[in-house]
């Protein structure tokens, strides 16, 4: 029956897209499945929490029992319900995402089956109704499926499913269990809207939607003020970026008259290459990316975002949402290809962010903060790649980073879980995320230890691990662009673009060195040396349950073998080369070639070997340095650090950026608003002097005026009312 329908649909339009009539027609189900999960889990969390108030709420409802009794009864009831229905959330939450993954995989196979015809056919677009029609403006609810959005969908639903499963264990005892899964499902829904949306406004729905979920999940434990602050900060800083995104859309509409990708790609040819307009559009878009993907100077929200539950950090603040900016640039390749100047700024910002964040990572004690700064840094690499037009390298690193960083975060989650449980047993209030409370965990949680080392080697760029291949491809692309590209021919402040690109390459290498150091430091402090958790707690330290280690193991496999997605040509002995490059070519190849100045430069094998050698040397050097620097005895000390001064203290405090923004931006704005605008201008000048002043003046000048203003306005008002009614009444009698 279904097949017959599909065939009928396929036959109806002979010149249809190769995906027409295939399982790809169900692309709309991808975001709808997690939305369904959100609705179910949302109801599971809110319905039992609803205790209808009395009809007249202002009467004291607590006649029968004391205040605290009410609270306790409420808690008890919540717990009973919690046990009964949590199982349902445990099933629904991961299941909807899992089904979405299966569907995505099926669509992927259909795309593979479509073969070469797909490469020329363009994107598969489906429209499901009109959203904002106004004049010539037509914004539709449309989804677009192509190689890029397919890859993103697979990452989101695949890694998403694993993290949902991990959450079953991690959040097991949380009173907000169903609410957690509701938010997480909603996040996946919006993330899929983001990557599948067929136009900038629909992408923006997902864009702000994931921001909302991020806000809700960072502040998930909202009773703690710092968590609520962190959520709010994330939303507001992201809004700064969204401002840029909005302005970019206004520019697109005003100048190209369209907002969907197909239209923009087609109309982009009308834009003057490297002109002010396309550069402005790209820079405003990049402002949006900098907000969402935590680049300088808008990265400040991401370290704070670690206040959320750790699986959230893995899914949203490492694997998926924060990479949306990279996706947006790859998606807008047709525009960025025309704006080499903007692209150069993207690459430069990425490189500086990568280095900046990596140095902060060297001095953090909170295991999640290390990973947060590391994420900011790795996102920087992706922007370096996107900036030099190596879009598939950027997406490749996005994919491998999703694997190894999700693994690192979930591994950290399993460590935190172990410490938390241990401290819970002994009723001690200690920080379960502080690495000074860890050490020697290798003996207690060997699985987590081994898997996290695999991820560490991947992020450090040790050969055959996935991160090695993607980072190497990025550095190679920068080097190639420095040698020859449209960007290299520019001049920025009098400096040749190629010189800047060589500089970016060096920054990339230095960052790789620092990355290897701080990641090794983190591993050593966490898993090696003597244990510092506490005598009483030590017996309670143990490996997480299988529902948590299982997903870790799957991510471990991906972390180790993810590089095979896109093997470089020089290593063709290992397997088929450049799978990902070829897969993405229909979407990004033209833009990459334009930015490269005609054709992507091919480096000689000798150069490639040299570049690989440099990268490997740097990572081995970094790991070695860290092992020597942070070896045994140093690790044993619980308070390893003396009171630091100078640069050390500055790095530990993340260069005082947050404090500076608070003191020189936020506080002055609030003071200005309160003292100058509100009390001064509003209450003082306009109201006090002008309004009330003129009233007082009138009172003084005229007796009649005085009468009007001393309480007899009522009479006056009645006269107006009665008069008006009489006039209206006249109608009836005519």
């Amino acid at each position: 029956m279904m097949l017959a329908l599909l065939q009928a649909a396929a036959e109806a339009s002979p010149a249809a897209h190769p995906l027409a009539g295939t399982v790809a027609e169900y692309v709309w189900m991808l975001p709808l499945l997690p939305l369904l999960g959100f609705v179910i889990n949302g109801l599971l969390s809110i319905v039992p929490a609803y205790h209808a108030g009395p009809e007249d709420v202002s009467h004291d409802p607590e006649a029968g029992h004391t205040d605290m009794a009410h609270e306790e009864a409420y808690e008890a009831e919540a717990t009973t319900f919690h046990r009964r229905w949590n199982a349902l959330s445990s099933v629904v939450g991961p299941l909807v995402v899992g089904i979405a993954f299966v569907l995505a995989a099926a669509i992927f196979l259909a795309m593979r089956a479509a073969g070469p015809s797909l490469e020329t056919a363009g994107a598969f677009v489906r429209t499901y109704g009109s959203w904002m029609p106004a004049g010539e403006l037509r914004i539709n609810w449309g989804l677009q499926l192509d190689q890029l959005s397919m890859l993103m969908t697979l990452i989101i639903t695949g890694v998403g499913t694993l993290i949902h499963l991990f959450s079953i264990g991690y959040m097991r005892t949380d009173p907000g269990y169903s609410r957690y899964f509701a938010y997480l499902n909603l996040f996946v829904c919006f993330m899929l809207v983001l990557v599948l949306g067929g136009s900038y406004p629909v992408l923006f729905v997902g864009w702000e939607g994931v921001g909302l979920c991020s806000y809700l999940l960072i502040g998930f434990w909202f009773s703690d003020e710092s968590n609520a602050n962190a959520g709010k900060k994330a939303f507001i800083v992201n809004r700064v970026g969204d401002f840029g995104f909005l302005v970019a859309m206004f520019l697109l509409w005003a100048n190209l008259g369209t907002l969907d990708y197909a239209g923009v790609d087609a109309a982009a040819t009308r834009l003057v290459a490297n002109g002010a307009l396309v550069t402005a559009i790209c820079l405003f878009l990049f402002l949006g990316c900098a907000g969402k993907s935590a680049q300088l100077p808008l990265y400040i929200w991401l370290p704070d975002a670690m206040a959320g539950p750790t699986p959230v950090s893995a899914l949203i603040h490492a694997a998926t949402m924060v990479t949306a900016g990279v996706y947006l640039i790859a998606r807008s390749g047709a525009l960025f290809a025309l704006a080499p100047f903007a692209s150069l700024l993207v690459a430069l910002t990425g490189a500086l962010t990568a280095l900046f964040a990596a140095t902060i990572g060297l001095k953090q004690w909170d295991i999640k903060k290390v990973l947060a700064y590391s994420t900011v840094s790795q996102l920087g690499y992706m922007f370096v790649a996107a900036g030099v037009g190596a879009y598939s390298a950027a997406v490749f690193h996005l994919a491998t980073h999703a694997f190894f960083k999700a693994l690192l975060f979930l591994g950290a989650g399993s460590v935190i879980y172990a410490l938390h449980e241990a401290y819970h047993h002994t009723h001690r209030e200690e920080d379960a995320q502080d690495m000074r409370n860890m050490g020697g965990l290798r003996r207690h949680m060997p699985v987590t230890w081994a898997l996290m080392w695999a991820a560490t080697l991947a992020i450090a760029g040790v050969p055959v691990f996935s991160g090695f291949f993607s980072k190497d491809q990025i550095l190679g692309a920068v080097y190639g662009a420095a040698r020859h590209s449209a960007i290299g021919e520019l001049r920025l402040l009098g400096i040749p673009g190629s010189a800047i690109l060589y500089g970016i390459y060096v920054l990339g290498l230095v960052t790789a060195l620092i990355t290897a150091i701080y990641m090794t430091r983190m591993m050593l402090y966490t898993f090696h040396g003597a244990n510092r958790t506490g005598e009483g707690e030590r017996p309670h330290l143990h490996e997480a349950p299988w529902i948590m280690t299982g997903p870790l193991a799957v991510l471990g496999v991906l972390t180790v073998f993810g590089g095979w997605l896109n093997l470089p040509a020089v290593l063709h002995a290992l397997g088929p080369e450049a799978l990902l490059d070829r897969w993405l070519a229909p979407v990004v190849a033209r833009a990459s070639a334009t930015l490269a100045g005609g054709e992507v430069a091919h480096l000689s094998h000798a150069t490639e070997y040299a570049l690989i050698g440099a990268a490997v040397a740097v990572s081995v050097l970094g790991i070695g340095f860290a092992v020597v620097r942070y070896r045994g005895p140093l690790l044993a000390k619980r308070e390893a650090e003396a009171a630091e001064t100078g640069l050390g203290a500055a790095v530990r405090q993340a260069y005082y950026v947050d404090r500076g923004i608070g003191r020189y931006l936020v506080e002055p704005t609030i003071a200005l608003s309160r003292k100058v605008l509100w009390r001064g201008l509003d209450v003082g000048l306009i109201d006090g002097v002008i309004v009330n002043g003129s009233a007082a003046l009138m009172r003084g000048v005229a007796w009649a005026g005085a009468r009007i203003q001393t309480g007899n306005v009522g009479n006056y008002a009645w006269i107006v009312a009665v008069g008006a009614l009489v006039v209206i009444g006249a109608v009836a009698f005519r």
């Binding site: 209808a52 403006l137 502040g219 909005l246 005519r734």
Partner: protein, 528 residues
């Protein structure tokens, strides 16, 4: 539905009916709810339940009657619909002319639907002089519907004043501590503007042959008359700018909102502010296109709109009182409307109309929910709250949704209006739009900070821990708002389609008028 409505000749009687039904309800309250002696205490009392039931029933009938306009309204027709033309004051040429187009349709529907929701959501808080309270609300409804439907300038002025009076009493009699100051300020502020408007209306009447106050007559016959046009525009401008309120004419608003009882605030923010922007759309722009589109004036108004957006948001951020926070947020939101109107493109006008509707829904819901909170906690001071998402989870979930719609999250009603306004306005006023767009950052700042301090953070006080959640009546009301927020956010198409012809006509009318009647230096509308 359409055929059935045509069969009952819906179009011929609906507008007069919408004006008369509330008045009939008011009369019914007067007759059926006389004070009686209580059999036991021998004190005079009024059956409050009956008063409320009659008022609510009347407004429900009103809403259901008006709902027919959704179907009966022809979206393709830019002309006046449901038109009624009766003689009124023949000597002056004033007629009782009513009609609706795509601009006023949704203002009428907003009014008729918001009124019963406001009463139902604020069922129990008024405890004194019940009869007077509900009679005033019903008269106010007639006044508001009248303002949005009349096509006679004198009649417009009459309705404009009629609705002022009940609101004055609602604030003055059932308001908070500083109610007298607030109500007098509200009254004088508005009167000041509207008296000048009356003079301008009379001038227009005299200048077009002193034969008719009819809107179309004056529109067709009024010719640009040199500097006088600017004075006339100025008079209308002042009346409407105060009502909007546009910075710096806004200082009556925070006082009126804070002191007004909940229903009063809902109506003030939900409907009455839109009369200002409606006035610009209906009168100030079409009648005086040359003045309104004069580059200097246009830039000035656009500038004031941007100042309103940013200033309103910044001042909202530092308010200690929840109602004041929302009051200043209205200044910010209405700034977007003014920006859209004076940018004058099809998208920006439709966007402005959407913001007007959305603001009515979102801010109406915010004021209602703040009222619900006040009923429970007897305070609106933000610092007194914190952490109540634990004690009133359902209230909090809905409050957050409404706040997000006010922030303009895509998928909610707030986004559609703001986005279309800015997108459309960018074509004629790019610089102003870039400045105005910073408002999206400030909006997130003031609302989320407010939300955090009320719903989140630790639950410190015992009193907040024992707040009771929404009762079923409140849940029903809030639920209706939630549905409206999502519906207009996800599928505003049917609404936008009905606005489109009127918006397009307005743009054309004003652009042409500005060119034809332009002074030498305004022969082309320069981009500011």
């Amino acid at each position: 539905m359409r055929d059935w409505l045509a069969a009952v000749q819906y179009a011929t009687w609906i507008l007069p009916a919408l004006l008369l039904v509330p008045l009939a309800g008011a009369a019914l309250i007067g007759i059926a709810c006389r004070p009686a002696l209580h059999p036991e205490t021998q004190e005079e009392y009024v059956d409050g339940g009956r008063v409320r039931a009659i008022a609510f029933g009347t407004l429900l009938v009103e809403a259901l009657l008006s709902a027919g306009m959704w179907w009966a309204f022809d979206p393709a027709d830019p002309a006046w619909q449901f038109r009624v033309d009766l003689p009124w004051i023949a000597d002056w040429g004033a007629r009782f002319t009513l009609g609706v187009d795509g601009i006023s349709l949704f203002m009428v529907l907003l009014t008729t639907f918001l009124m019963p929701l406001a009463i139902m959501g604020d069922w129990t808080s008024v405890r004194t002089k019940l009869r007077t309270h509900y009679v005033l609300l019903l008269v106010l409804t007639t006044g508001m519907v009248g303002v949005f439907t009349t096509l006679d300038l004198l009649l417009f002025y009459v309705f404009w004043e009629i609705m002022l009076v009940p609101m004055y009493f609602i604030i003055g009699m059932w308001g908070g501590e500083r109610r007298t100051y607030a109500s007098v300020k509200f009254f004088l502020y508005t009167m000041f503007g509207s008296l000048l408007m009356l003079l301008a209306i009379i001038w227009l009447w005299a200048g077009t042959g002193a034969t008719s106050f009819g809107y179309e007559h004056i529109l067709a016959n009024f010719r640009h008359a040199g500097p006088a046009t600017f004075w006339l525009f100025g008079a209308f401008f002042l009346a409407f700018a105060i009502k909007v309120p546009l910075f710096p004419f806004h200082t009556w608003l925070p006082d009126a909102h804070v002191e007004a009882p909940t229903t009063g605030s809902v109506i003030l923010a939900g409907v009455m502010l839109k009369m200002g922007t409606y006035g610009f759309l209906r009168f100030a722009l079409p009648l005086f296109p040359a003045a309104a589109m004069h580059p200097t004036i246009r830039a000035l108004v656009l500038g004031l709109a941007v100042v309103s957006i940013v200033y309103g948001a910044l001042v909202a951020m530092v308010q200690p009182d929840l109602k004041k926070l929302v009051a200043y947020s209205s200044v910010s939101h209405l700034g977007f409307v003014m920006l859209g109107i004076f940018a004058l493109t099809e998208q920006s006008i439709q966007g402005a109309l959407m913001v007007m509707v959305s603001h009515g829904i979102s801010t109406g819901a915010l004021f209602l929910m703040i009222g619900m909170l006040y009923e429970r906690a007897h305070t609106r001071e933000i610092a007194k709250f914190g952490g109540i998402a634990r004690s009133v989870p359902v209230f909090s979930a809905f409050f957050l949704l409404v706040a997000l719609s006010s922030i303009g999250l895509p998928g909610t009603n707030g986004f559609v209006g703001e986005f279309l306004t800015l997108l459309g306005a960018y074509q004629t006023a790019p610089l102003f739009v870039v400045l105005a767009s910073t408002g999206v950052v400030f909006a997130a700042a003031y609302l989320l900070w407010g939300v955090q301090r009320v719903l989140f953070n630790p639950l410190r006080s015992e009193a907040n821990a024992t707040l009771v959640d929404l009762n079923r009546r409140e849940l029903a009301v809030v639920g209706v708002f939630a549905v409206a927020i999502l519906w207009l956010g996800l599928a505003p198409g049917p609404v936008l389609r009905r606005m489109e012809p009127a918006a397009a006509r307005l743009v054309q009318q004003v652009e042409r008028g500005a060119q034809v009647a332009a002074l030498p230096d305004t022969s082309t509308v320069r981009q500011p």
